[in-house]
């Protein structure tokens, strides 16, 4: 046997980098080997990029900087280990997105990052093992796919945002999983467990395979699914499921729903009829990007942008900041079939179509949860459907479709599509769990209240009071006029979600129940 040396860097043995962001890989190698930006650049950089020390920040998504073959040799990793390390792998290369006027005037605004967040976002459990997945950076994700915990871009110690997702322009590449402001680092240098790596590998491989399938469909290579077409086309779930739920995306997306299920079960045991939490803010641009707010905000956006509306009017277009979201949503309008009566669409809430849910994906746009009934009749597409092609100019229809194709932005497509499914499924579950409540109560009134009255802050105040006084329960006096039955329960549910102890919440629930009975 010949003695063949294998050239390695420190820290590479027993490390499977699959799915980790390339910034994390480079940063960890630099840290473990005491290499600065030039040192690591000389080892893994391409010929013209022998350093990561540049005047401008270097984008980790720039593949031309790193010699991936060399990087693979150093860690004895296979060639495809890094395919899942770049955000560009998760972008849909269908058509070039049409740029908004603002972007066209300022080319620097065009992000090369694909669907990535600007600042580093971490899963606190992955950070213990010094792991930062590219999934943590992807927009539209709120949870870590491995540990199923909420991602955060805020340091838990100093509450400032983590550094940008770029190579530093300074000499030293800082660790990805550390705070650049206060040096917070929760890395205890542990080895990533095999089970975590297995989950990650399985998830990412399935996800990418699924994405490839969707890409084929969008590139019209798979003719079994047609997005925009005549109403005669049928889109049964057996086919659409290839696109919509994704491999484990559903699992990730439904994390909050599963929490809701637990909550509802708990509520039923308590004899309460608690409505699950719904997003309490809509279109709030100034919403702080805290984990608590982000989930609700994302869902709200997805609701507005993705839910199908039959027919678009100029007024609606003007009411949006940009027509982009709206047009993207329009791309997926034709999942409706077997709607017998026009009135059904108008009068029945969408969740009453649950009978079809198993087979059909029914999508409607709602503005602040209220269907825009008056615009439906104006839709050219709707007219086409109802009255046949004679009443619609054929070229107009074609132009619409071609525009839509152009407007399919890679980033927003994924966000809109998947999150709309999330929203729908979540509400479907809620409906199944709390059917009685939904039918009896005035949901529109509740929702309009919810959109104007946030419950998170009062809930925090209550819990802060409980913590400060070491009490197990709080007696909450409410204004009868201003607060609805459902709003109170929402407050209790929120307290349960963020509260410190179950016992405290049980007592709070009891008090609230009494209060509600008085109301």
């Amino acid at each position: 046997m010949k003695y063949l040396p294998t050239v390695r860097l420190n820290g590479t043995s027993g490390w499977d980098p699959y799915g980790e962001s390339i910034l994390s890989i480079i940063s960890r190698l630099a840290q473990k080997n005491h290499l600065d930006a030039t040192g690591i650049g000389r080892i893994v950089g391409k010929r013209k990029h022998k350093t990561f020390l540049t005047e401008r920040r270097l984008n980790p998504e720039n593949v031309d900087v790193i010699d991936l073959c060399k990087l693979g040799d150093i860690g004895a990793w296979s060639g495809n280990s890094f395919t899942a390390s770049f955000g560009r792998e998760y972008v849909w290369p269908i058509v070039r997105p049409k740029l908004s006027p603002r972007m066209e005037t300022n080319p620097r605004k065009i992000s090369e990052r694909g669907p990535l967040m600007k600042n580093i976002r971490l899963c606190h459990r992955c950070a213990v093992d010094d792991v930062h997945l590219i999934f943590h950076q992807l927009r539209g994700w709120s949870h870590c796919p491995v540990h199923e915990v909420t991602l955060s871009n805020v340091c838990p110690k100093c509450f400032k945002k983590f550094g940008p997702y770029t190579y530093s322009y300074r000499g030293i590449i800082p660790p990805t999983t550390a705070c650049p402001h206060c040096n917070w680092n929760n890395n205890i240098a542990g080895q990533v467990s095999d089970s975590d790596v297995a989950i990650r590998r399985k998830f990412i491989l399935e996800y990418m395979t699924w994405m490839d399938r969707v890409k084929d469909v969008l590139a019209n290579q798979n003719r079994s699914v047609v997005f925009i077409g005549l109403p005669d086309y049928r889109f049964d779930m057996a086919t659409v499921e290839q696109l919509i739920p994704g491999p484990d995306w559903l699992r990730g997306c439904l994390l909050e729903s599963s929490e809701l299920i637990t909550s509802s079960t708990f509520n039923k045991k308590m004899g309460l009829n608690i409505r699950p939490k719904l997003p309490n803010r809509l279109f709030d641009k100034n919403l702080r990007e805290t984990p608590d707010y982000r989930v609700g905000n994302t869902v709200a956006k997805a609701t507005i942008h993705a839910i199908r509306c039959y027919g678009e009017t100029d007024s609606y277009l003007k009411s949006m900041d940009s027509g982009l979201f709206h047009k993207v949503a329009d791309r997926f309008e034709c999942f409706v079939d077997e709607v017998d009566e026009y009135n059904d669409l108008i009068t029945k809430p969408w969740f009453l179509w649950r009978a079809q849910f198993d087979r059909y994906f029914l999508v409607r746009r709602v503005s602040k949860f209220k269907p825009r009934i008056e615009t439906i009749a104006d839709s050219s597409l709707w007219s086409y459907w109802r009255n046949g092609p004679a009443n619609v100019m054929q070229d107009e229809f074609d132009r619409e479709n071609s525009d839509l194709c152009l407007w399919v932005n890679n980033i927003w497509w994924r966000k809109v599509f998947l999150e709309s499914y999330y929203w729908m499924f979540r509400n479907y579950l809620s409906y199944c769990l709390d059917e009685e409540f939904y039918i009896k109560d005035d949901i529109e009134g509740y929702q309009s209240n919810l959109s104007t009255h946030g419950v998170l802050d009062p809930a925090r105040r209550i819990l802060g009071l409980l913590r400060n006084t070491n009490e197990g329960a709080a007696l909450v006096f409410v204004n009868k006029k201003a607060t609805q039955h459902a709003h109170l329960l929402e407050l209790a549910a929120t307290c349960l979600k963020i509260g410190p102890s179950e016992k405290a919440i049980l007592q709070l629930f009891q008090l609230l129940q009494n209060d509600i009975n008085r109301i």
Binding site: M1, K2, Y3, P5, T6, V7, R8, L9, N10, G11, S13, G14, K32, N33, H34, L35, G39, R42, I43, I74
Partner: protein, 328 residues
């Protein structure tokens, strides 16, 4: 004749033609046993010395290749070759850089001496931890050139690793000057170095008896194989027809041994106590390559051919060895 020529072409890639063959010999077995003994005795270092061309480096390579099987544990190993110490080549930076390079680190030349030292400690620690061991076996070849300063660098590594519960075992392998070096350290009472790296010693000898020479030939006949898994021994590869008819190199060793003595007498040289391994290997390979030209069922190794081989391939190295023997 055509067949033989084609066979010769095939044999150009043979390990013994390319001087890559490592055959188990008695001195090698002794060396391995000594290393195992030292590890079991929890020694942190020892000296293995012997004359040049005796097969010391080959023995180290054998241990590196078969470490886990031979030592009975997956102890991570490394081979570091010392260079001639001069004023400019004894810097800490050069030492740690060379050691990193010897341990196959990807960036041995980047950074300052302090950084390289830290990388080296990390490297050794990582390999030991990943092997679930607590020892790192470092062979230092040409150790007679080691300088006191370099030994102190090693001592520093040894101490730092000990803090992490890792034992660095250094086997210093070199020529007889190594014994003098050890004596000089002893005379200067540098016990901290002696205790760490030179607490035991072993002489690596060449071929001293006919029996040992027979052991090598036996390895050629029976204990070797190329290509891997083919079942073809080295002797069989060179003289397949004769081998099939029972011809073995081992049976000709008494004749070769006798003729070696005769040649030395004819050259008026004293008797050689310790034949260099490399000389005998060269002789056997030359004989086999000559025999491959006349391979037949009744192959006979003629004394004239052996004498020619001794004069052409072995005598110069044996003369060198004898001259050292006389000077001792």
């Amino acid at each position: 004749m055509k067949l033989q020529r084609s066979m010769r072409n095939d044999l150009s890639d043979h390990p013994i033609a390319r001087d890559q063959a490592i055959l188990p010999t008695i001195p090698m077995e002794e060396f391995v046993n000594v290393v195992i003994d030292w590890l079991d005795s929890r020694l942190t270092g020892g000296v293995v010395w012997g004359n040049q061309r005796m097969g010391k480096t080959q023995a180290i390579r054998y241990l590196l290749d078969h470490g886990t099987q031979v030592l009975g544990a997956p102890i991570p190993t490394g081979l570091f070759s010392v260079w001639d110490p001069t004023y400019t080549s004894l810097t800490e930076n050069r030492f740690f850089g060379a050691l990193l390079s010897a341990l196959n680190y990807a960036a041995p030349l980047t950074g300052t001496a302090a950084i390289k030292r830290q990388r080296l400690l990390d490297l050794i620690a990582e390999r030991v931890v990943s092997a679930k061991e607590y020892r790192f076996l470092l062979f230092i070849d040409e150790a007679q050139w080691l300088d006191n300063v370099q030994l102190r660098y090693l001592m520093d590594l040894h101490n730092q690793l000990k803090i992490s519960d890792i034992r660095l075992v250094c086997i210093l392998v070199g020529q007889p000057e190594l014994v003098e070096f050890r004596a000089s350290l002893r005379s200067s009472k540098q016990a901290h170095l002696l205790g760490r790296f030179m607490s035991a010693s072993h002489q690596f000898k060449g071929v001293t008896t006919e029996q040992e020479f027979k052991r090598i030939a036996y390895a050629f006949d029976e204990q070797s194989e190329y290509p891997a898994g083919s079942g073809i021994s080295y002797t069989q590869a060179y003289v397949p027809i004769a081998y099939q008819n029972g011809w073995r190199l081992e049976t000709n060793i008494p004749t070769i041994w006798k003729l070696l003595d005769n040649c030395l007498e004819a050259e008026r040289l004293p008797k050689c106590n310790e034949f260099p391994m490399q000389a005998l290997m060269a002789l056997l390979v030359w004989l086999l390559s000559q025999l491959s030209l006349e391979d037949n069922e009744s192959l006979d190794l003629r004394p004239e051919l052996i004498e020619e081989g001794i004069y052409r391939r072995a005598l110069i190295q044996i003369q060198d060895q004898i001259s050292l023997q006389v000077s001792d």
